[in-house]
């Protein structure tokens, strides 16, 4: 088992956080949030991988064949559903903000301070 997928997952998370911190556009920021979330997909799938394993579907494979962990795949699916909900809601808020405020630049939003 190589360490590469774990490094990739960490890197994706950090690059997403970097994007969020430096973002000048809220749509871009919501995109960055989705990027940080994709690091959880990579990590989940990396954790469940087994060398030489096949998909955990036994209809066309013998029941003793070596398969990857199906639990993490269920978790990743749930995670995707959660992510889609969050992203859709936040994008809707950004759209509405554009209508009411006329901007999607976080630097221009200054009504809540101090």
């Amino acid at each position: 088992m190589t360490v590469l997928p774990y490094l990739v997952a960490g890197w994706i998370f950090l690059i997403g956080v970097y994007g969020l911190v430096t973002s000048r556009n809220l749509i871009h920021a919501v995109g960055c949030l989705a990027v940080t979330q994709s690091s959880t997909y990579v990590l989940l799938l990396a954790v469940g991988y087994r060398n030489g394993g096949t998909a955990p579907v036994f209809s066309d494979a013998p029941t003793d064949s070596r398969v990857v962990d199906p639990v993490v795949q269920a978790l990743a699916l749930t995670d995707i559903v959660v992510g889609a909900t969050v992203t859709a809601l936040l994008l809707a808020l950004v759209l509405q903000l554009r209508k009411r405020h006329g901007t999607v630049d976080p630097d221009a939003l200054s009504e809540l301070k101090g």
């Binding site: 969020l20 911190v21 989940l44 809601l89 301070k113 101090g114």
Partner: protein, 608 residues
């Protein structure tokens, strides 16, 4: 009847109610949708209370455990989902449900909900929020905790930005959503690491498997990541920046829930995960956990109190008071004793009623005067003596005045904390006095017109309180529920402190909560945890005196502030702290990353 069977209902009933309201809301008149919402919330409260009372009786299997769908673990491992009705979790679910009923009654017919011709969307969202919070309180499975965490998060973002026609709520909801979801993803990374190590997702199973080996870097990373998300929800410094922005702009009924229970659920999550997963020899050493949470808790309490004192936007003032009280709750959890946990639980119970009542009174001001600005409202609410009296009582209860529940919680927690570090009770007194004093100051100015009219200061970053009323038009006469609900909430808070049976039940809940081995045996082996014999928390002379001291200090501070507004308003020394609250999402995310690093540094010695 087996009360464990009721556990899934605590989550399913509000979800069903939300689905019914979402499907039929278009055709229902407003009254019917409000009634439906209340009925489903009340049914949930009833089932949570039934579980709680069964959990309160000693007997075989000290508390109910339900493996949903009968998917029990085989040989100590399995993929089934478990719901655990231990007294603290079930009690929190009951608190959430009762507060939801109060909130729905408060917004009964008066809250002007967009969209105009689609009633039912507001109670439906509140019910989804309730389902998420109840599920989070009673789940015994870490991945499910993440799902419920996000469910309550998404419902809360939507509720915060509910008045979509105004710019401020959108901005607050967006900051809330981005920061909280980022925290949740960090939690999920941590959960994945724990799964990689143990192959389990249940709290009890993970804890058992971890304890078969010593702690190492992976366990530390998992702890830091899981805790980061929970601390974001708990609004611990430096993860707290989203909270004032969200609370200041959310509709008043939503603020009551956010401040009253949601933030506290973050603290509960930290305590629950630590005691069930990391408290054993394979987890994180106790001194490291205590040090990390003490540092964060003290910072949170002090910063929250300092910011609270400087606010003129009433909802923001109350929001910062929540931040600072969360700091006190974190300290109660950090000391890692049953007394600390039961004291914190009492404090949370009392605080929920008081804080919700204060927000409810603020809502009356907002709907009548279209502002929640302390300076603009100066002396204008003289004609509302009842609301003023409720606000003042709320302020006094927030200081920890005996015999309020918040006072008993403060007394028990500060005594438990005093055993860890002798100066901690002083912090409790100071923080309660400053936050309570800020509330009393605002009450004196608004409802009595006391002292001199404060003048605006130029050139400082601040949020003033100009808002749009939540009722269709400005209120002339105050409708009964807007006064009855805060009065009932304050009475409940008083009862929690004054009735000894409540305190002894909470004491037992705290003892069961901190029994790591007992929890694992009850969940996995179906064996009853032995009820530990501990003296129940009660009023002691020191606690009463310290409560009176903080109340006296708060009154003195408030009197000083209304007499000399120029000198006591905003110390220049604290201007840099105030500028940190910049309203910029990027800054908040950067602070989150810094907080995670701080947490790592503080806990590294715990794995040696």
């Amino acid at each position: 009847m087996d009360t464990a069977r009721l556990l899934p209902l605590v989550v399913a009933a509000p979800l069903l109610g939300a689905a019914v309201l979402a499907a039929t809301g278009r055709w229902l008149p407003r009254l019917a949708s409000d009634l439906l919402g209340c009925a489903f919330a009340a049914a949930t409260a009833a089932s949570a209370l039934l579980v709680l009372f069964r959990a309160g009786h000693p007997g075989p299997g000290a508390y109910p455990v339900e493996w949903v769908g009968g998917w029990r673990p085989v040989g100590g491992s399995g993929v089934g989902i478990v719901l655990v009705g231990d007294p603290l979790g079930a009690g929190l679910a009951a608190l959430v449900s009762l507060l939801v009923v109060a909130v729905l009654l408060y917004s009964w017919r008066y809250f002007d909900e967009p969209p105009r011709h689609h009633t039912g969307s507001f109670p439906a969202l509140i019910l989804v929020f309730q389902a998420g919070m109840c599920g989070f309180a009673i789940t015994g499975d870490l991945f499910n905790a993440f799902v419920f965490f996000e469910l309550m998060g998404v419902a809360a973002y939507a509720l915060t930005g509910f008045r979509v026609e105004e710019p401020k709520p959108l901005q607050g909801a967006l900051a809330f959503g981005v920061v909280n979801s980022l925290g949740a993803y960090a939690t999920l990374l941590g959960i994945t690491l724990l799964y990689a190590r143990t192959g389990e997702l249940g709290l009890a199973q993970i804890g058992r498997k971890l304890d078969t080996a010593g702690p190492d870097g992976l366990v530390l990373a998992a702890f830091v990541l899981v805790t980061t998300g929970l601390l974001v929800k708990a609004a611990a410094v430096p993860f707290h920046f989203w909270l004032p922005d969200a609370h200041a702009v959310a509709p008043t009924p939503v603020c009551m829930l956010l401040s009253g229970v949601m933030v506290e659920l973050g603290v509960y999550g930290v305590a629950r995960v630590y005691w069930t997963v990391f408290a054993g020899p394979g987890g994180l050493a106790h001194p490291a956990f205590t040090r990390a949470l003490l540092v964060l808790g003290v910072l949170t309490a002090l910063l929250g109190a300092a910011m609270c004192w400087q606010q003129r936007h009433l909802k923001r003032l109350l929001a910062f008071s929540t931040v600072s009280h969360t700091g006190l709750f974190l300290i109660g959890v950090a000391v890692l004793t049953p007394e600390g946990v039961s004291g914190t639980a009492l404090y949370v119970l009392g605080h929920a009623g008081v804080k919700a009542a204060l927000f409810a009174c603020t809502g009356v001001l907002l709907d009548r005067y279209a502002t929640v600005d302390e300076h603009e409202l100066f002396g204008r609410a003289r004609g509302l003596p009842v609301v003023g009296a409720l606000f003042a009582v709320g302020g006094l209860a927030l200081c920890g005045l005996p015999p309020f529940g918040s006072g008993l919680g403060k007394a028990v927690t500060e005594e438990a904390a005093g055993h860890t570090a002798g100066w901690l009770p002083a912090l409790y007194v100071l923080v309660s006095a400053v936050t309570g004093g800020a509330v009393l100051r605002a009450g004196l100015r608004i409802f009595a017109g006391a002292g001199r009219r404060p003048r605006d200061q130029e050139g400082e970053p601040e949020t003033t309180g100009e808002e749009v009323p939540e009722t269709g038009q400005r209120l002339g006469r105050i409708p009964a529920p807007l006064v009855a609900v805060p009065a009932a909430l304050l009475t409940a808070s008083l009862a929690i402190g004054a009735i000894p049976a409540v305190a002894s039940a909470v004491g037992r809940a705290g003892a069961l909560f901190t029994d790591t081995g007992g929890y694992r045996r009850t969940v996995l082996d179906g064996r009853a945890a032995a009820t530990p014999a501990l003296p129940p928390p009660h009023w002691q002379t020191t606690g009463v005196l310290l409560g009176l001291l903080s109340t006296g200090l708060a009154i003195a501070l408030a009197a000083l502030a209304v007499r000399h507004p120029a000198r006591t308003g905003r110390p220049a020394l604290l201007a840099p702290v105030r500028r940190l609250q910049s309203g910029h999402i990027g800054d908040y995310v950067a602070w989150l990353a810094a907080g995670t690093a701080l947490l790592t540094v503080l806990t590294v010695p715990g794995i040696r």
